[in-house]
């Protein structure tokens, strides 16, 4: 088989997102932040969100990680920008569910935009965490009240 199976995981669009990340950097105004680590590989994402009138007005991330985690953070920040907090949380739930093999409606999938491509990660169980890290960060950033850092992840 060799590396041909990799095409399923590293589609061109994924490599493109990873090589030319979107929304990577620091925001000047943030209301919600979250730093998460993937302790198995050392990947880190620091997510910054600016929520205004219950909408994600702006979102950006810094951090370091593999192609999958970087592409996922790029795609996630793209698709949730402008969404309400509830919509973004629903999308995060859809993505987390898909990654663990749960089914969702076509409408839910459509809402994920480009990010739904990454659900092909299911074929590579060892890499699921890489793809879900940014979505978990989003979930936790939006759900917590204060700006305390999550230390135990």
């Amino acid at each position: 088989m060799g590396l041909s199976k990799l095409n399923g995981l590293y589609r061109e669009v994924i490599l493109d997102y990873a090589n030319h990340p979107h929304n990577k950097g620091a925001l000047s105004t943030t209301t919600n932040t979250m730093t998460l680590h993937n302790p198995t590989c050392g990947d880190t994402i620091n997510l910054q969100v600016e929520v205004k009138d219950n909408k994600i007005n702006n979102i950006a991330y810094t951090g370091d990680g593999c192609t999958i985690s970087q592409a996922s953070a790029s795609m996630m920040t793209d698709v949730v920008k402008g969404k309400t907090v509830d919509e973004a949380l629903a999308m995060a739930k859809t993505f987390s569910d898909l990654a663990i093999g749960k089914k969702h409606s076509d409408a839910d999938l459509k809402q994920l935009g480009d990010a739904q491509i990454l659900t092909s990660i299911m074929e590579f169980p060892a890499r699921i965490k890489c793809a879900t890290l940014s979505w978990w960060a989003l979930q936790r950033a939006l759900l917590k009240d204060s700006e305390e850092e999550e230390k135990n992840e």
Binding site: L6, C41, G65, C66
Partner: protein
């Protein structure tokens, strides 16, 4: 290198398989080794013939199980040349052994202002117990740094270990840098200053002859599973006078001499440190692994691994955009080879190599302070054992070249 003389593949059923439609090349031996049939059979025999709890039954099976367990202890004693079998304590693994020393000897002997000296290349299991002990006791934790070549800096060790140093804890072989540390010299330095020294032998005992009396080390810890035993069994060697002076690690059955309503006394070593029912089958399996390794011969194993490193390391270094960490000279490098491909994250590299049947580890290898020191967040790591072959090395090199090609970097 002649592969025919060194063909062990028939003894390792797990190696005879395909993954992702490619021949499996297992190069994650620094994480855990594979088990030969002989070890698996020892476990089956134990469970099918002798299984019972040890030291507390008068029936025949209990006697047999006790003999199996104590025979395993003697095999380990001979294997590392400990003065007596009671100096060999069975634990859950290397991590457990190191925590035991910190929680007993460390707890008893470290005072505010004392120094604990470790090296920057320690695995978290030989780092966090000392870091937390130092914090709790207001002691000072000091790190021995690396040379430019990635070896332990002995000159820096002489500077860091002082009369205030009470414990020195260092790895005998690095799980990242592929180096063997000058443990014997470190022992001499520690003893000159009146400190005890702990050797972490997790990456040494499976790969080279280790003689704890020749090293004169005070404590020495290692895991069974990296030397082909079942998981969940490990060893703590300690000098008898030190072990006897230490308080127990855990309380319960087996570790007592006499128990009353308000007080208890403890069993002699090694049982003082073996509370509760131990991993008896694990110890039996470790004994069988020791038999296997002794039969092959640790010098032969060391020689075979060195010839693999001599073969693969220069090829790896010659690939454009591949960076190998630690010494670049094969004769200075063990079978643990950490590397990165420029522009690629090691996690992506490991997934790609897996598609070519090659199992390597990617990550920080439980050595985050060392990763910080190297200025990386993670590396890929190929780690060889004596049953690996030149063919395995060829498949690794080929897979790395294909990985580069797939991600479209470099000149291919």
């Amino acid at each position: 290198m002649d592969n025919n003389i060194n063909d062990f593949s028939g003894d390792f059923p797990v190696l005879d398989q395909q993954v992702n439609d490619e021949r499996l090349v297992y190069l994650d031996n620094a994480a855990t080794a594979q088990r030969p049939r002989q070890v698996i059979k020892a476990l089956t025999d134990f469970y099918e013939q002798d299984n019972a709890n040890v030291h507390r039954g008068v029936h025949t099976l209990a006697e047999r199980a006790t003999k199996d367990y104590e025979d395993a202890r003697q095999k380990v004693q001979v294997f590392i040349n400990a003065p007596a079998a009671h100096d060999v304590i069975f634990t859950k693994g290397c991590t457990d052994s190191l925590n035991l020393i910190a929680a007993t000897y460390g707890e008893q002997n470290i005072k505010p202002g004392d120094e604990i000296v470790i090296s920057i290349m320690e695995h978290h299991s030989n780092l966090i117990p000392w870091q937390q002990l130092a914090k709790k006791k207001q002691a000072v934790l000091k790190y021995i740094e690396l040379t430019a070549d990635g070896e332990l800096d002995l000159a820096d060790a002489k500077h860091k270990i002082t009369d205030k140093t009470k414990i020195v804890a260092v790895t005998h072989a690095s799980n990242v840098m592929g180096t063997v540390t000058p443990l014997k010299e470190l022992v001499a330095i520690a003893h000159q200053h009146g400190a005890v020294i702990v050797g972490d032998g997790a990456q040494a005992v499976p790969h080279m002859p280790v003689n704890v009396q020749d090293l004169d080390v005070d404590f020495y810890a290692f895991s069974g599973h990296k030397m082909m035993s079942p998981m969940g069994i490990g060893v703590l060697y300690g000098k008898a006078d030190l072990l006897r002076a230490m308080p127990p690690y855990q309380y319960g059955g087996e570790m007592i001499n006499d128990v009353h309503r308000d007080q208890s006394t403890w069993a002699d070593i090694p049982f003082k440190f073996e509370a509760g029912t131990q991993n008896i089958a694990g110890a039996v399996g470790l004994g069988a692994a020791v038999d296997y390794l002794s039969h092959v011969g640790m010098k032969n194993i060391q020689r075979k691994e060195q010839s693999l490193v001599n073969y693969v390391l220069p090829q790896l270094i010659a690939i454009p955009d591949v960076q190998v960490y630690g010494p670049q000279l094969p004769q200075k490098h063990t079978g643990v080879i950490s590397f990165n491909i420029k522009g690629l994250h090691p996690h992506d590299v490991a997934t790609a190599l897996d598609m070519d049947g090659v199992a390597v580890r990617a990550g920080h290898h439980c050595a985050q302070p060392l990763m910080e020191e190297l200025g990386v967040t993670a590396t890929a790591r190929a780690s060889f054992y004596f049953y690996n072959t030149k063919e395995d090395a060829d498949q690794l090199i080929k897979a790395i070249n294909e990985t580069k090609e797939f991600f479209n970097i470099g000149t291919i």
